[in-house]
Symmetry: C2
Subunit: 109 residues, 2 copies
DNA sequence: ACTACATTTCTATATTTATGGAAATATAGA
DNA sequence: TCTATATTTCCATAAATATAGAAATGTAGT
């Protein structure tokens, strides 16, 4: 992931409505939710939701699949993964400090 | 860190100029740099830089300390830490998947 | 106090982004 | 085809954000 992609992904999550949408999809992962269900749960006009879903899709943070009249959205974890790696590397000095995974390997600095 | 703080921090980093500033400060951590040095390195007008530094300060991502006529800026890792924790918890389903052990550079799933 | 330099605030402007109603599009069933 | 429902696109408007020159402020040395 390069800087531009990171900025796009960050900008996507840096918006209350979109962060809510994304968190909801994380919670319901991997099944996902139809657009209408999201709109209902978050009490959001469909056009506004559609706008945000497009942004999230464009940033690669969510993926969609049509099923009949419904469009299901779900988290694309690979992008979130890449974003976390980018931040760890570029914004945490590569230090484990910023990434507390409670790992077993025992490497310490 | 609550949602509002997370959105503020994310919005701060979701801007090319600010991300550059922050990365530069991470690289020069923990010493930090004077505002003028940053402006020089990034070739940025001082007023523009000052605007962005204020944003970063307000988000708690950087801290400053005056020394004579210079104001030194440096990374506040505790906020970045909290942001990473927030993302891991809320946007990665609490899974380790999103928080790779940093040593596996080119690992692909 | 005066000068030099560092940084911030003021100000205006340009640009981007968010919102939501209305219309259009897509899908399925009778 | 007609109708009902799901989702998206179109559009206008409102709001937030970025940029940078000019002026103001702060700090130190003479």
């Amino acid at each position: 992931m390069d800087t531009k992609q990171a900025v796009t992904a960050l900008a996507c999550l840096a918006q209350e409505a979109r962060l809510e949408i994304f968190r909801l999809l994380v919670q319901t992962s991997p099944a996902g939710l139809a657009a209408g269900e999201i709109a209902l749960k978050l009490n959001m006009p469909s056009s506004t939701l559609s706008f945000h879903l497009k942004e999230l899709s464009h940033a690669g943070l969510v993926k969609s699949s049509q099923s009949g009249r419904f469009v299901y959205y779900s988290t694309d974890f690979s992008t979130m993964n890449a974003l976390m790696a980018f931040l760890t590397e570029n914004c945490c000095g590569g230090k484990q400090d910023c990434c507390p995974p409670a790992e077993a390997a025992g490497e310490e600095k």
